[in-house]
Symmetry: D2
């Protein structure tokens, strides 16, 4: 599977060089995928001028098309997002809306260009919300053509109403670390299978 | 406000006398409401033979009608639920489905019998899910005619992927305790206002 | 209640002068509130340079502070949002994140500045998602201090997988119209009560 | 792939012989899987005495173990559920809670017994809720070890606040029909791949 590639999108609200717990967990997912022989990069979405919209290119300097091309070139997409109010970040929702355009972008056999790609999810917050964020993203990602492996998510949150950041935890919480490794192994396995055996075209 | 009353429904999956973290948090909400002069009781739903359905009475020994009467007699309903898979318990969903029948049960001016009643939410789990459970319940409860005060929820969850139960935490986590008090004060205040000034009838 | 005021925030992805179904439903809510004696305005969030973030003012030309002031001046806030992928728009999530800052903005008695304000919800999409959007918004709004009246939401969606826009329906669907009127009447009633009898301060 | 098998669980609230829109959509999914060479059955959960709980066997006549065995014998599980209050049915939530027990049920290499199985989702309601139900189920199913194919869901809902049942629509809505076929083809494809190439064991 050494030829598989991935893209991790960090959906933090904060531009570089601000520290980001989401960057940390996303980078750990990237490293774990690397251990599976999957090469890739992590991109912080807000460092690019991505526009609100539901088309592949909103024009006028929109930088989604460049990120979209990286997504199309990759076998695995990991959406990494912080939790705000128990929900995915607005930046993550903006990315899902842009991915919604893929419903109309099909190959010559009528399959979305995302078909055959595998999605993973990484969620981090001070407290509470990881399962729900997973739900929102899992639904959105399957809707727009991605496949989800078993245990498609890694996450960390603290105890209720606490304020500790994942980036300030040391060492990395053991269970989150093991979960990240499982996500990477399963995503790589599934992407390897689908890269050799694509979904059938619709009738 | 000394005449206000409340009902707390404990939506644990476990019948009495099994210990229940939800019972603990629900009882704390009941006590906090008592401090506001609101008398009431807590009922464990699975100790009653409540049937699946969406009518006020499913017949044949269905014990929802008795619980429903307690709800109709109260000014404040607190739904207390455990978290499973980051979501409300099936028992809590069964209660919401039974409350859905209230959409068709109106007074002689066309208002639901729940109009004027105030709802509170209490959520507890080993880890993660309180905000999402709140979302599900807040939506369901406003749909079926309840009003929600500011900060309508109290909750506790542990750190990601941990297994500690709320009932085994001692003393009660301070922030949860303060939040329970706020919920009780705000619910009592709002119920007091609505008991004297009901919503207008539809045209 | 003639002195009550409201603010409707239209969370469409599209800048003016693009037509917006959300603008239509939000404007209908504004008009229905007007019939209750509640004066106010509707603002399209993307016409302002609102920044991603979770503080009251992200600086550097951020235009949230001006919208925030309108929110603080109003008794009723209606969040109007389109549905994308069955979920609230990213713009709506951005607004919720900005409102999250209110958790730290309290009066001299320790109450959030949003306490005493009432929230309404207006949701529109081609198909499917209104209840879930309501859930997300109801939870977020109660978390940040708003109160929700009975039947706090109005909405329209079409049949599954259809593409008709609300703005192209004529006349307005009758049930949605009645629901908008109920939302307005209940929100005005609750805001009137709370404007005269604020929530108690915490101990 | 002629040896693949499936199980469809109908999570309606109504016992047989009551008519069930969920039964209709679930049976259509079963037939579509049959066209892909996948044999199976549909079971109405409430016709069995399934108990609330989170263990594989709650004892005392609990009939989940028999359904669980059918699930373990199948390559594909389709959860078919009605929508109530925009959310999955309580019966569906009860099934998810029973599936939660699989987190602790592993093979001699430490993999959940659900690993390698593929899940599909079928959702039906009078109006609104399919995407959110998908979200809840997709998250729960990936958490407990299932894999989700591209476009893992089929659904039907009517226009907002309408009361038409899917079982009373004739002929079957064309888009739902096409979506059911896509779900079946993709689920069969993915199950075929995973049946020959299981996920790796954890380290």
């Amino acid at each position: 599977m050494s030829e598989l590639t991935c893209l991790v999108l960090n959906c933090t609200l904060k531009k570089s060089p601000a520290e980001s717990s989401t960057d940390l967990l996303g980078s750990q997912a990237l490293a774990a995928l690397g251990d599976q022989g999957v090469a890739g990069t992590i991109e912080r979405v807000v460092d690019h001028d991505v526009r609100f919209g539901v088309s592949p290119d909103e024009g006028d300097g929109d930088e989604w098309p460049a990120l979209r091309q990286k997504m199309l070139d990759a076998d695995i997409l990991v959406l990494a997002t912080p939790i705000w109010l128990g929900q995915p970040s607005s930046v993550c929702k903006m990315v899902l809306e842009r991915l919604d355009a893929e419903l109309s972008e099909t190959d010559d056999q009528g399959r979305m260009l995302t078909y055959g790609k595998v999605a993973g999810i990484a969620v981090v917050g001070n407290e509470d919300g990881a399962h729900h964020v997973t739900a929102e993203l899992a639904q959105g990602l399957t809707d727009v053509g991605f496949s989800l492996p078993a245990n498609a998510v890694t996450y960390w949150v603290g105890e209720a109403m606490q304020g500790v950041d994942y980036k300030d935890k040391s060492p990395t919480p053991e269970k989150t670390d093991a979960t990240t490794k499982t996500l990477a192994a399963n995503a790589a396995h599934l992407a390897g299978l689908l890269s050799h055996s694509p979904y059938p075209a619709p009738d």
